[in-house]
């Protein structure tokens, strides 16, 4: 049935659509850090927005709240993905490097994505919270204060955590 009489639903859809334009990149990068798989991350990000649409009735049409909802959902989807794949190395078949890779420098793109996998493997040695801090930090345009607000931590704690996380990441990568 159409959303008869429920005029606000259109507004929520619109807000989500607008958020997709501004936040798809962030969400996708967040997922990439979490899942070590660029393609999977893009799919998870897309799924995040679709879920937002399906839950539109329970989401308040407020920017901040919608943003928090999206990250939370992206996080859960990422964690679910990691659990499903266990310790399995998520090899990315070449055929999933679809037409995206034809756009520009296939080689460079493959290198980047390979790098994401290596980084992701190293990320698994971090705590979930540390990984989450880095995921926010490497998403697009977020400062320590923004991350702190989203995670309910102090900015100082975020700064400390990102420092130790990168330090550990570095060590892990070096030992390989």
């Amino acid at each position: 049935m159409l959303l008869l009489g429920d005029q606000n639903i259109g507004k929520v859809y619109r807000a989500i659509a607008a958020m997709h334009e501004t936040h798809f990149k962030r969400i996708a990068r967040y997922c990439a850090v979490q899942t070590e798989n660029a393609e999977e991350a893009e799919d998870l990000a897309s799924e995040t927005f679709v879920r937002a649409l399906r839950s539109a009735r329970s989401i308040r049409n407020s920017g901040a709240q919608l943003e928090a909802w999206l990250f939370k959902t992206a996080h859960n989807l990422s964690i679910d993905y990691l659990r499903r794949n266990g310790g399995r190395k998520s090899a990315v078949p070449l055929d999933t490097l679809d037409e995206d890779c034809k756009e520009d420098g296939v080689t460079e793109r493959m290198e980047r994505r390979q790098d994401i996998r290596e980084l992701g493997t190293a990320m698994r040695h971090l705590s979930e919270t540390q990984r989450q801090v880095l995921a926010f930090r490497f998403s697009d345009g977020m400062k320590a204060e923004d991350v702190a607000a989203l995670m309910g931590m102090s900015a100082g704690a975020v700064r400390q955590m990102q420092y130790t996380a990168i330090k550990k990441l570095r060590e892990t990568l070096e030992t390989k």
Binding site: E42, D100, E103, R109, A144
Partner: protein, 673 residues
């Protein structure tokens, strides 16, 4: 130390991830920590580079597409059951949800019968108040949700504005008035949203396209709705007119905004001629009205080159009464071709002679600004005409004390090649709308126009108080109307203004009626002219609307505060079609409806809105009022520039002659049809 390092590291992260700085530049900044920082920052750089490759544009596009199809799917999937699961039985919820539920239930039923796509399709022709209308509205909302480009949004908003215009048309034709204002609010919202979306366009051509569509939409809409206005029951006309004028104001706002934006696309090289002229200023009992106008300027909207352009080299002094019958050029200049949005001038001095005695008139301190977009084309003449409503513009607050609060009707001619313009024949005049003055009181120079304030406020509030009942004005008391003088009948067509003047109770040709005007007591017709010749005034007299000659001229009542007011209204010489006066009155009424003015009349009987003395409003509110007055009526031919000279050159005439002249000028204010 550790804390300090955290901060330094954090700062380096910001520099690298947010500002794209290199590892080296960060290390240079914190050379003392370089050894410690470098391996960490190299890791950050590597990770930053890797993650920056996510997502690809193709992935974003795919996701967008998926989002769109999901929304479509959500709209197609019967959610009835889902809703029950989530929220329990729908019935008790009805009352808690949108008011539209009652009718929505019917739509729901129909949807089951027709199938969903049928419902959506069927809703396309639904009107406000009908069962399927909420479906239509929601469908539009969703379509907007799916539209990601500003250009697409602007296009949708324009299309929806057109739909609203169609709905208005249908509502008016069916006499279903209850939803008219709701549709008007939506229409204005759509128009302004289209303009807003267009402002976000980086593509000048696309913005220009939006502007062109808006320009076309406003004329086609008025052409379509005007017949509805004419055919509407008299008692509804003020209300309809108010709606039309509000809409006109929104289009005006939108065009103003975009004319500057899209400037690069339409600024035609070269120059054209812009002339501002004034006509008609009939005043009861006044023998002379010497006016000095200065700073006659037009505002050209040309992006960064927007500016006021002077149209006259110095103060212009003239006797307004002697202009009757012909236009008097206030200013005429060769100007850059382009879009102009406003005209302003200041009246610095005014003296009236009443009963042989000179009186200095208090004039507005601020310039009078009239806003309406018009074009000046290369090698062509554009004429802006300002018609003062004499009776409404001049008020008195006591013996010998006169106050000028200009009530001006603005009309603009379509540009005509100058050679043709010289002939002064058959110049098409675009119907123009109006005029807001407004700001005159505020002296605002910039974009803001009175109607803008109105529309934005209205929209912000969601709805407007359009209940005509709230608008009915009440004359505040006898003004110098009490001293109404009569004028002889003058053969020939009359302008609506005169006819309106006659409408005042007690007015009667040749018979001065000292009785104070009390329009609110008049019969329930709002114009005595034209079609309602036999209206009885409260004094038992008959309004002289059908008579060619003006009778007593109404004047504003005392105690009214001066406020420059522009009045939009149909304009045109020649035939003063019956009923025009009514439209005119209607055009004045909306102001009242907006509650911005003091008095008014809407619906009040048989009296001239202006002459009735109800119109003058406090200076602060007057502007808004007028801004709402787009002339719904078609406009008459352009006045011939050539007439100006002769008109201006008219010898001073005795009061009686002046009256005749004034009455003759009325036709100029009439509408051709």
């Amino acid at each position: 130390m550790s804390n300090n390092l955290d901060r330094i590291f954090d700062e380096c992260l910001d520099r690298m991830l947010l500002h794209g700085e290199s590892v080296e530049s960060c290390l240079a900044q914190y050379a003392s920590h370089a050894g410690h920082l470098e391996p960490l920052l190299r890791t950050v750089a590597r990770a930053g580079k890797a993650y920056a490759a996510v997502p690809t544009d193709a992935a974003a596009a795919r996701s967008r597409q998926r989002l769109e199809s999901t929304i479509q799917e959500l709209l197609q999937v019967p959610e009835q059951h889902k809703r029950r699961e989530r929220m329990g039985p729908p019935l008790p919820r009805f009352g808690l949800r949108a008011p539209g539920w009652a009718t929505a239930a019917v739509a729901l039923l129909l949807a089951v019968v027709l199938g969903l796509s049928g419902t959506v399709a069927a809703s396309g022709n639904s009107l406000p108040g009908q069962a399927l209308y909420p479906v239509k509205h929601t469908t539009e909302e969703v379509r907007l949700a799916l539209e990601f480009s500003q250009e697409g949004k602007a296009s949708l908003y324009l299309a929806y504005a057109e739909r609203r215009a169609h709905e208005l048309d249908a509502l008016l034709k069916s006499g279903e008035m209850s939803q008219v204002e709701a549709v008007e609010v939506q229409l204005r919202r759509n128009v302004l949203a289209a303009a807003k979306a267009a402002t976000a366009l980086t593509d000048a051509e696309a913005a220009s396209e939006v502007r062109s569509r808006l320009e076309g939409a406003v004329s086609s809409m008025l052409l379509r709705l005007e017949p509805a206005l004419r055919e509407a029951p008299e008692e509804e006309r003020p209300r309809i007119d108010s709606v039309l004028q509000a809409i006109g104001g929104a289009y005006s706002d939108a065009l103003e905004t975009l004319s500057g934006l899209a400037d690069a696309q339409h600024r035609a090289p070269g120059t054209g001629v812009l002339e501002v002229q004034t006509r008609a200023f009939s005043l009861p009992r006044v023998e002379k009205a010497l006016v000095t106008a200065t700073a006659i300027e037009a505002y050209v909207a040309a992006g960064e080159a927007s500016r006021w352009v002077s149209l006259a080299s110095g103060p212009q002094s003239f006797d307004l009464l002697r202009l009757a019958g012909g236009p008097h050029p206030l200013g005429r200049r060769s100007v850059d071709a382009g879009i102009y949005t406003r005209v302003r001038f200041a009246i610095t001095n005014m003296i009236v002679v009443v009963d042989g005695t000179e009186h200095v008139v208090e004039v507005p301190e601020q310039p009078l600004t009239l806003s309406w977009p018009f074009r000046v084309e290369r090698g062509a003449l554009s004429v802006v005409s300002l018609d003062f409503n004499g009776a409404a513009s001049l008020e008195t607050s006591g013996p010998g004390r006169y106050i000028l609060s200009p009530v001006v009707h603005l009309s603009v001619s379509e540009p005509v090649p100058e050679s043709v313009a010289g002939a002064g024949e058959d110049q098409p005049e675009i119907r123009l709308k109006l005029v807001p003055p407004g700001q005159n009181t505020a002296g605002s120079v910039a974009m803001p126009s009175a109607h803008k304030e109105g529309t934005e406020r209205d929209i912000a509030e969601g709805t407007e108080d359009k209940d005509p009942a709230t608008v009915h004005p009440v004359a505040t008391g006898p003004g110098w109307a009490a001293e109404t003088r009569s004028t002889p009948d003058v053969p020939g067509p009359h302008g609506p203004a005169k006819a309106l003047d006659e409408a005042g109770p007690g007015a009667s040709p040749e018979i001065p009626q000292p009785a104070a005007r009390q329009p609110e007591q008049g019969p329930p017709a709002w114009s005595a002219s034209g079609e309602r010749p036999g209206l009885q005034d409260t004094n038992g007299g008959t309004a002289q609307g059908t008579h060619p000659g003006p009778s007593a001229e109404a004047v504003p009542p005392q105690g009214q505060q001066p406020g420059p007011t522009a009045v939009a209204g149909p304009d045109g010489p020649g035939k003063m079609a019956q009923g025009r006066a009514e439209e005119r009155a209607a055009s004045a009424a909306p102001a009242a409806e907006r509650g911005e003015h003091g008095a008014v009349v809407a619906g009040a009987a048989g009296s001239d809105v202006w002459a009735a003395g109800t119109f003058p409003a406090p200076a602060t509110t007057a502007p808004s009022t007028s801004s709402k007055q787009p002339p719904p009526g078609p406009v008459g031919p352009v006045e011939k520039p050539g007439e100006a000279a002769s008109a201006a050159g008219q010898p001073v005439v005795p009061p009686q002659a002046a009256k005749s002249a004034a009455s003759k000028d009325d036709p100029l204010r009439g509408n051709p049809h």
